[in-house]
């Protein structure tokens, strides 16, 4: 759980839509790590950071940690960024949900994820390339699709 006492500030609440999204990354457009795939799975590690570990974390970092308490892809984090977790639970984040507000660009999420990786707050796993996996993976996918 992210502690209630430290609610992330809505990045867009005061300034309107983020026309310069890379402001939240301090202008950085590339993460400190290598490329992070849009389908890469992200999950927050352990307890939320406290004390010294919280230094350097912005509200946007907190928002990512909030979203990936359970595993979520980079693309899903971007799409859900700043949205209330539930309509009945409005949080002080960002704009009205809707397709016209796709959230921050993937590149911004990648930079912020690089920071969180550096500090050990998340783990990230790239998508599996089925070409290098064994055939059981295809069978498992087919079983799942046929059951839809």
């Amino acid at each position: 759980m992210i502690p209630d006492g430290d609610p992330p500030r809505a990045p867009e609440a005061e300034s309107g839509p983020l026309v310069r999204p890379y402001v939240v990354t301090g202008g950085r457009t590339a993460p400190t790590r290598g490329h992070i795939d849009a389908a890469a799975q992200v999950v927050a590690l352990g307890d939320p950071p406290a004390g010294e570990e919280r230094r350097g974390l912005t509200p946007e970092h907190w928002e990512i940690l909030r979203l990936c308490r359970t595993p979520l892809s980079v693309a899903e984090i971007a799409a859900a960024f700043g949205r209330p977790a539930h309509p009945a639970d409005p949080r002080p984040f960002g704009p009205t949900p809707g397709a016209e507000h796709p959230g921050p660009p993937l590149g911004v999420i990648r930079v912020l994820l690089g920071d969180l990786l550096d500090e050990g707050h998340v783990t990230v796993e790239q998508p599996t390339d089925p070409k290098v996996a064994d055939l059981n993976l295809y069978r498992e996918i087919l079983v799942g699709l046929r059951a839809l």
Binding site: R20, A30, D37, P105, L106, I141, L148
Partner: protein, 200 residues
Amino acid sequence: MASEHSDRTPARRPARRLPTAIKIIIAGGFGAGKTTMVGSVSDTPPLRTEEMLTDRSVGIDDTAGVEGKQATTVAMDFGRISINQNLVLYLFGTPGQERFWFMWDELSLGALGAVVLADTRRLADCFPAIDYFERRGTPFIVAVNCFEGARRYDLDEVQLALNVGGGIPIVLCDARDRESSRDVLITLVEHAQKAHTAAH
């Protein structure tokens, strides 16, 4: 990079194993039904995310460059199919414009394969996608989206017009229909499985 941890915090572990994520690309010309298919077969309505061209054109820590640039935003619709707790499929609709090839490259990297959606009223619109996946060696199939009011073609006619290799499956579909879209994905996965078997 399979999995990354910071060495500084070895005690932290994810609560459970991260799911295996598989990427599938839904490609085709503008208006061919990509987002419709993503939405009809996914767990939720299509989600939208954006990529900015500045990602590739501006160096690290170049704040002035970001401010001075007219940022071009490319929207991309995607969906998720949870196969089970440990396996998730992501369907990514490609941005229609061909000038965004860099996003196709990124999406195709490590993808299981691609569905090229074809609209028989504008069949030529899907040629660039077919060319792209043929060149890359990405397993793909062609799914002919049967729009209302469009003349129904025989598969033979479409195959002739597309001039794709004999081994590439071509199927008819209704992108609005969940079962039909699911069957398209099954055809793709079976095709990719064959390609995988042949290569090993």
